[in-house]
């Protein structure tokens, strides 16, 4: 049954309905087949009913002096017939739907577990080795003829997964309910605070046609990109809570894992957290988003940046020092900068002390009053050396 439905897809209707999003797995193709089966069933009965309606309306239109012809007021056999036919068809749909559902949500015990964290308004994927993906891409990126880099949309994270592998998602939200939808797999599940949810999928075997363009380098690489959308309304930037799942050859995946498990220096680690969590609301280039910008800049909204005084909503002012930032991360509504709404959720319990240190290091680095400015080059050098050693170690392990 599985095979028949998947292979019996009529191309035109399939294309019309699902567009350029081919099913990425056997289970997804099977559910497309089921959808088309129900669609054909519906079209048949719809056309039948509408033809009868139009035919009756024309044939029995009112003519002066001609009465309505007598006909029965009910007919038990007919009524039983049209109760039993839809009931039994729906029983078939129910059973097939149940079958397809299990193949979508259940995954083999050997499946690789990918942890997904949803928070307003970004996704983070954590791999079995503890690494998280630092890579992002915009909707599009072009370098125009004046050598300006023009990017469209936000920077969405890219989650690499190896081809031909069973993957199991373990998902949780840190704030409100989100929903992790991969249209290519025809599956979504809600991502709920304080509870794990998940589903499984198997990644396809890549064909030579599966390629993506690496946005920074412009290189054409083997792999397949798929969108992830948040499908449960979660507030201001709900419609920008997207990610890309990139199915790549196993070697490239292993390479990425090795690269990402390297320990970063505090500023880079802070920047990584910023891209994953903070960037939706805080820019570092002076742009006003939901929250204040982090770099040192003076504009119509006031003076910003580490080491400068912040004017608060209640008229008082406070020095933006390490303690101020620490409090703003853990208890965001304690001090609200004038002109901004108290919209930030608390990160208490979600970020470790080390994470907070790293974010503060990053915030310091984008201010011209960076207390560590003198040591900047040294410390980052040290970080790189440390990183290289670990990379070498990781290399020798494998």
């Amino acid at each position: 049954m599985m095979q028949t439905l998947a292979s019996a897809q009529p191309d035109i209707l399939q294309k019309l309905i699902f567009g350029d999003v081919p099913a990425a797995s056997e289970a997804a193709a099977w559910s497309d087949g089921l959808f088309l089966m129900i669609t054909w069933f519906s079209i048949f009965f719809f056309v039948l009913l509408m033809s009868l309606m139009v035919y009756f309306t024309i044939k029995y239109r009112r003519r002066p002096g001609v009465p309505a012809e007598p006909s029965p007021h009910h007919n038990l056999l007919l009524e039983i017939f049209w109760t039993v036919v839809p009931s039994s068809s729906m029983l078939v749909m129910f059973i097939l739907g149940f079958q397809g559902y299990t193949s979508k949500v259940v995954s083999p015990d050997s499946a690789m577990e990918l942890k997904i964290q949803g928070s307003k308004w970004s996704w983070i994927a954590t791999y079995p080795n503890g690494a998280t993906s630092p890579e992002t891409q915009a909707l599009s990126r072009v370098v125009d003829n004046e050598n300006h880099v023009v990017t469209e949309g936000k920077q969405y994270p890219i989650f690499y997964v190896p081809e031909n592998t069973d993957i199991k998602l373990r998902m949780m939200s840190t704030d409100v309910i989100h929903s992790f939808w991969i249209p290519d797999y025809r599956t979504k599940m809600d991502v709920i605070p304080n509870r794990y949810t998940g589903f499984g999928f198997s990644t396809p075997i890549l064909t030579p046609n599966d390629t993506y363009v690496h946005q920074e380098t412009g290189q054409v690489m083997p792999g397949r990109d798929m969108w992830v959308f948040c499908a449960e309304y979660c507030g201001d930037d709900h419609s920008r809570m997207a990610a890309t799942i990139r199915v790549v050859p196993r070697e490239l995946y292993d390479q990425k894992m090795a690269d990402w498990s390297v320990k970063l220096d505090p500023i880079d680690a802070g920047m990584k957290i910023w891209t994953q969590l903070c960037k939706t609301c805080h820019e570092t280039n002076g742009t006003r988003l939901v929250g204040p910008t982090w770099n040192s800049v003076k504009n119509a909204d006031g003076q910003f940046g580490f080491g400068y005084e912040a004017l608060l909503e209640d008229g008082s002012s406070v020095m933006r020092d390490a303690n101020y930032y620490r409090e703003s991360i853990l208890d965001p509504n304690a001090k609200i900068v004038k002109g901004f709404a108290p919209a930030m959720p608390s990160y208490q319990g979600q970020l470790s002390e080390e994470d907070i240190d790293n974010i503060i290091a990053f915030i310091q680095s984008v201010s011209d009053r960076n207390p560590n400015a003198g040591e900047d080059s040294e410390s980052s050098d040290a970080g790189e050396t440390e990183g290289e050693t670990e990379e070498a170690e990781a290399g020798s392990d494998s």
Binding site: I17, G19, Y60, A68, W82, G100, Y101, W227, D236, H238
Partner: protein
């Protein structure tokens, strides 16, 4: 009204219910303090039509924003001083450009969009579609169709109306303060945490809570009226199907609405007093809210659709001059739907519940489809061998069969678990429920409004104008919503201000459709205004109906009947009874002796 009647104030039951004392203030007081079900029905009618207009404008706003996705373009370049500079430009914030001045500074285009779609949903559901048919048409028709002077508790009926007004005022007040961005479903913990320093969300939730009481009291009134005030000779199976539908609706209103009332109250407690019920950070369970909410809100979709089905039964049989096919099947399927509707709420939560629960709810959901399918078959069978006249009400009834069938059939892949995991919370769902709610309830409401308009106001309207409006509504509706099925299957999630470029063409077609739809409703508005100002006088029975409302004048006198009616024939005995006030010369009866 003659001078004689005007002088004899206590004989007020002899004049049209629309006539009243001279003087503006006296007229207003007469309406504001009336316990007449017809006046209350008419007041509801104008209120829900106004709310439909507000909700409709919000819908146009939503479609306007979606013509173009909100995009941020960042250009990075090296400036003259050798530093890297970035310039960020945001495009496509159509609503913000149009009405940004109405919101506080710093509100983004997405935030405005979120408030507008919430506004659309909340107004349309709580203030328009739930009261539209039961409270407006139902109030007017139910007592007359039963042969009664009024509902069982006329003062309670007036109280329901004022509760409705207070509820709407809370909603409007919340909107004037800037609106809410929770979505009309108020899902927790988003709704308990968003916009934390404002009372707007609480006001909007209070609005829904208060409107619930109006709904409960109207339902209670209708149940008692149907049980106690049927005319002599009217047994349960002599009632028009419209009454059966309103009766089933009233039962759902009385049983389900208290649950949402409690739920919304808990939500307010959590928001204001931080009692942890739904928010996990306070020790609550966020999915619990969804179970509570849909335990009410799923049955309530049948509060919306059942009265519409009642209208369709009346309009089709009168205009086809046929006894409705399978009367008992339709009557029992109304009750069946009302019963099963309480067991299917889980299908709104397929993506947030365990496997076993999902499977159970999927099976139960299919059950509710069957009585609905049976009704459609019965209506089509009623047309067989009829003498069918095409007027605006009938066009809308046939249109209902078209759009509601699409709405019903596209529900099948949503009840089917495997396919629902893809379609859930996508535009496919948006299209599906607009085909059932708008293509079902609103289209049926339009059919009923045109069918009973002459009875309510004693004036005929321009059939040609109304048919033009109906044609525009049909084209606009299908253009707007049929495209959205494809958006959904191709991966477009709901409630997005911002979408990837491949969806833009379909969104634009949909937005154009919404303008055609608006135009269609404006034509209807014009036709109705013209009818009130200069329409021909309506006869008591312009369509040749057999139910009791066609035996009274158009518009009816204050107490409906000059003397208590005694029912002598069934509501659909077109093959044996000449309708009252009806010239049988042009429309002869079939040969005698052909009953059944």
């Amino acid at each position: 009204m003659s001078t004689l009647e005007a002088n004899a104030g206590h004989h007020h039951d002899e004049g049209s219910y629309l006539s009243g004392p001279p003087g503006m203030i006296a007229r207003i007081w007469q309406w504001a303090s009336t316990v007449d079900h017809k006046k209350i029905g008419v007041m509801y009618l104008f209120a829900v039509l106004f709310m439909f207009f507000l909700g409709g404008m919000a819908a146009i706003g939503v479609r306007y924003e979606l013509l173009d996705p909100i995009r941020t373009q960042t250009t990075e370049f090296v400036n003259a001083a050798g530093d890297i500079e970035t310039v960020t430009v945001t495009t496509g914030e159509s609503l913000k450009e149009l009405m940004g001045g109405m919101f506080a500074d710093g509100v983004s285009g997405s935030q405005i969009y979120n408030r507008i779609f919430t506004l659309h949903g909340a107004i349309m559901v709580f203030m328009f579609i739930i009261p539209a048919i039961p409270a407006a048409l139902g109030n007017f028709l139910l007592p007359i169709m039963l042969g009664a002077k009024d509902v069982a508790f006329p003062r309670l009926n007036l109280l329901s109306w004022y509760i409705y007004v207070v509820g709407c005022l809370f909603g409007v007040f919340s909107i004037l303060l800037g609106g809410v961005d929770t979505g009309w479903t108020f899902y927790t913990p988003y709704s308990t945490t968003t916009d934390a320093d404002h009372w707007r969300v609480v006001l909007m939730v209070m609005a829904a809570f208060i409107l619930g009481f109006s709904s409960i009291l109207t339902g209670l009134n209708f149940v008692v009226t149907v049980h106690k005030l049927r005319a002599p000779g009217m047994g349960w199976f002599d009632m028009p199907l419209m009454i059966w539908a309103l009766y089933a609706t009233a039962i759902i209103q009385v049983l389900a609405t208290p649950v949402v009332g409690i739920t919304l109250l808990l939500l307010i407690f959590e928001r204001v007093m931080h009692i942890g019920i739904f928010d996990p950070s306070l020790g609550g369970d966020p999915v619990l809210y969804q179970h509570f909410f849909w335990f009410y809100s799923h049955p309530v979709v049948y509060v919306m659709i059942l009265p519409g089905m009642g209208i369709i039964s009346e309009v089709i049989s009168v205009n086809a001059r046929k006894h409705i096919f399978g009367y008992r099947a339709i009557a029992f399927s109304s009750l069946g739907i009302a019963g099963v509707s309480f067991l299917v709420w889980g299908h709104h939560i397929f993506t947030a519940m365990g496997e076993l629960a999902a499977i159970l709810f999927s099976g139960l959901t299919f059950l509710v489809a069957i009585p609905t399918a049976i009704k459609i078959f019965n209506w089509v069978a009623t047309l067989y061998k009829g003498s069918i006249v095409i007027n605006t009400a009938m066009i809308y009834a046939l249109m209902f069969l078209f759009t509601f069938s699409i709405g019903g059939l596209t529900g099948l892949p949503l009840a089917t678990l495997a396919t629902d995991l893809h379609l859930h919370d996508s535009y496919y769902v948006v299209a599906h429920f607009h085909y059932t709610m708008m293509g079902g309830t609103v289209i049926a409401f339009m059919a009923g409004l045109h069918h009973w308009w002459p009875k309510m106001f004693g004036k005929m309207y321009s059939e040609k104008g109304a048919m033009l409006g109906a044609a525009l509504v049909f084209i606009g509706f299908n253009l707007t919503f049929f495209t959205q099925f494809f958006l959904g299957t191709q991966g477009m999630p709901r409630r997005y201000a911002n979408y990837v470029d491949e969806f833009q063409t379909l969104h634009q077609i949909s937005s154009v459709g919404s303008l055609v739809l608006l135009l269609g409703f404006l034509v209807h508005l014009f036709v109705f205004v013209q009818s009130i100002l200069s329409g021909d006088k309506a006869s008591a029975n312009p369509w040749g109906g057999l139910t009791l409302e066609w035996e009274v004048e158009s518009p009816p006198i204050e107490h409906n009947f000059h003397k208590e009616p005694i029912l002598k024939h069934g509501p659909y005995d077109f093959d044996s009874v000449v309708p009252p006030h009806w010239d049988p010369k042009d429309y002869p009866l079939p040969e005698k002796g052909n009953k059944h």
